[in-house]
């Protein structure tokens, strides 16, 4: 009753403003120059259907050569022993785990863009989501190499799966590494499904436009009989929404669980509750860094300026800025808690991080991850595409160092000073990691050459022509 009378009385209350003047807000167009639907189709399909450009071949061959480093490194590793890497007794996890977390972090932007931004109805995601989903899938593939091969006896790695066996031994479900197996494989499966499912209508377009027989069969097989029927679209949209809902928690869970590898251990500097949110923010940060690194050159090469507009770049820069600041906040919070917690081991671990044996890596990390993205506050900088690209590279470097700092400073200086050590990578470490960039590039180049770079229907749906009222409703 009381509430009712309250609402009654609001009617007599004088309005604060006589008239509400909405601020003028012009939604920036997501496709510039008033392009037609046909132009979009031609542009995206043209990338796949045109003649293979010479630069593509050069890049592909270079990528192959670089990727062979990983292959050779791994063959050497498996035939000889983990000792070919730089790992030693206090630092039992060296670059391998750093690289794993680095790649898996990069793999976060794709699902974030396609799932979370989809649920949040962020229309600007349409022209960048396919590329970043591809990036996600390929990054997770690169990531998977490291935990698999860092184990001492890789031929028994399947023991991590809960397969019934004659010994009646089950994996240890209390181990974060075991959780990783499930988290990463789930994430990979869902990402691939999402990526592929979103691509089906575009594959059908490519099939219908195909002139060569192999194309007809290739895309025809992949398009799974898509006929643009009304019920196809209805099912598609529902499935897309469901998958978006499914992968939203995955975006958060994967890196949370990866962070448990550290947070569940009892070492000072690892054993902190801040890790899950801080790792997720870092992952999104690095993911967007990598999306910028990849898409800006593509935009220039394929002339996609009308599709990946300044608005897109602006938005990505802003997300990078936000997540970079969150990461920076987490860095300072770690120090605060180490002091506030009054645990002398913890306190030592953090001072050692900043000023100890690996101080240089800590400061590389802080300058790349916290200071660098602050430049994105300035519109001038966000509009300077080459500079944005350079900053995105710094973000990638910084995030690699973040994982290096976490893994190595802690392991090299833990409880008993008698067992302190120092880790430096060997040539094999360096080449194996370097090679994964080649592996990633091979996959990405193949993607560019054979699969549609952008979801045609989704891009068209955000164009002014898609609005039957011509944008003049109300």
């Amino acid at each position: 009753m009381a509430t009712l009378s309250n609402t009654d009385s609001t009617e007599d209350r004088p309005a604060i403003l006589d008239k509400v003047n909405p601020a003028p807000w012009n939604e920036p167009p997501l496709v510039l120059n008033n392009r037609s639907f046909n132009w979009v189709t031609e542009k995206i399909c043209g990338i796949v259907e045109g003649k293979t450009p010479t630069w593509w071949w050069w890049c592909f061959i270079t990528a192959m050569i670089i990727a062979s480093f990983t292959g050779m490194g791994l063959i050497y590793l498996v035939s000889t022993g983990v000792g070919v890497w730089g790992n030693n007794n206090p630092v039992n996890w060296g670059w391998a785990i750093v690289n794993f977390v680095f790649w898996i972090g990069i793999g976060h932007a794709g699902t974030l863009i396609s799932a979370i931004l989809c649920l949040l109805k962020q229309k600007w995601r349409t022209s960048i989501n396919r590329g970043s989903e591809a990036m996600t899938v390929f990054a997770v593939m690169c990531a998977g190499i490291f935990p698999l091969f860092h184990v001492g006896r890789v031929w028994f790695a399947w023991w991590l799966f809960p397969l019934p066996n004659a010994n009646a031994i089950w994996p240890n479900f209390r181990s974060p590494l075991e959780w990783d197996v499930f988290a990463v494989s789930t994430y990979f499966t869902v990402s691939i499904l999402f990526w592929y499912m979103g691509m089906i209508p575009d594959l059908a377009v490519l099939r219908d436009r195909a002139k060569e027989t192999w194309r007809k069969y290739f895309y025809g097989f992949l398009a799974m009989g898509w006929r643009n029927a009304n019920n196809h679209w209805r099912n598609f949209e529902m499935a897309y929404l469901l998958l978006a809902g499914l992968s939203t928690p995955l975006v958060l869970s994967v890196h949370t669980i990866v962070s448990f590898d550290f947070a569940v251990a009892n070492l000072p500097g690892w054993h902190t509750t801040i890790f899950p949110p801080y790792f997720v923010a870092g992952a999104i940060f690095s993911g967007f860094g990598m999306v910028l690194t990849l898409l800006l050159p593509l935009r220039a090469v394929f002339g996609l300026h009308d599709l990946i507009t300044q608005t897109h770049i602006d938005n990505m820069c802003k997300i990078t800025l936000a997540t970079g600041s969150m990461v920076g906040y987490a860095y300072s919070m770690e120090f605060f808690i180490a002091w506030y917690g009054a645990n002398s081991y913890e306190g030592f671990a953090f001072i050692n991080r900043a000023f100890g044996n690996y101080w240089w890596s800590y400061w590389i990390m802080v300058s790349c991850n916290v200071i660098c993205p602050q430049l994105f506050w300035f519109k001038k900088i966000r509009e300077n595409t080459p500079l944005v690209w350079v900053i995105s590279i710094f973000v990638n470097v910084g995030m690699w160092f973040e994982r290096f700092v976490i893994a190595n400073t802690t392991l090299s200086r833990d409880f008993l000073p008698s067992s302190w050590g120092y880790y430096s990578p060997t040539v094999v470490d360096i080449f194996t990691f370097f090679g994964t960039f080649g592996f990633f590039s091979i996959l990405f180049l193949l993607f560019l050459r054979f699969l549609p770079l952008m979801p045609l229907a989704e891009v068209k749906s955000v164009m002014p022509q898609a609005d039957p009222h011509g944008g003049k409703h109300s």
Partner: protein, 377 residues
Amino acid sequence: MEGRAIVREANADEYKSDTSFAHHMGAESHSPPIYGKDLDKDLVFKSQTTPRGNSSYEHPDHNYEKSEEHGLHQWGMSIDLNQCTGCSACVVACQSENNIPVVGKDQVLRGREMHWIRLDRYFSSTQRDGAELPSDVQVSFQGVACMHCETAPCETVCPVNATVHDEEGLNAMAYNRCVGTRYCANNCPYKVRRFNFFDWNKRKTDEVYKGPLGEENDPVSAMGKNPDVTVRMRGVMEKCTYCTQRIQESKIRSKVKAQRSKTLDTGKDGKDLVLDRSELKVADGGIQTACQQVCPTDAIVFGDISDPESEVSKLKTNPRDYSVLGYLSTRPRTTFLAKVRNPNPHMPDHAVSPHSAREYHDKAHPSHHDEGHSSQH
């Protein structure tokens, strides 16, 4: 020692006034918020049980006595830091007993030595006098092997269950199950786990393993191996087993002996012969670990801690007894007896308390800082 209470030391005078000085050191001695209502319990209790402080939840008691199928013995060890002279005989004995590979200088420099027991040395001093070497160095030794923690952090993180507890309290390592993630070694706070980075047993003695195509080891070194202990291949983790082969042998021997004497006494044999559980017990001192056996000062004592009369149990009631990093609640089965120094007050480098203890107290109670210093000079 970075002001950490790892080797706990006092001078004889301090010891006289406070025999349990070791209990007043380390984070576990001054962390009231964690211990809550258990604050006043003694240190042995705190580090060997799971104090729940003010938590209102029940916590399963992991104490071995409560375990339904706890073994007949509960193995434990006590190392007297007072008696340790740092001679390293234990390290060598362990190496030959347990077929521990010699890895060579290059690999040692990379931090890949395989010793299951190591002798930690900590140096402390107060005066530097501008000289390169301080003039009043004190050295503290500590032999460290796997502590066989009752709540072992290494066990929970192994994804394939390759390291588990047995019913007699040993932290066992199943080499055949190990895939080599090395997570256990990271999570062991005492850093006692050793990884086979190469196949140390399949190579020429002075080379690292070169893969399947490399040269095989020469047979002579294989002949030097202890036949009771397996050799480990590359890619698996290993660490101190409390000489499990010796434990097993003694258990079998006492069983055979018990059977024989009972047969003689009762005339029964075969199925009719039933042995009492207590008859299977290995007598105290019946098992000596390799490190214990060679220790010239008998600093290492191993035995059954569930038997209150055993030597090791008695040593563990000594007020000097403490657990290293007790505040982690890993409840190590190996505990140490704190070191008591007896310096001559007329010597120029005499200090009222050992440097390492002063370092610790300066760090743990910075407010008493000045006091600590004035007593120095």
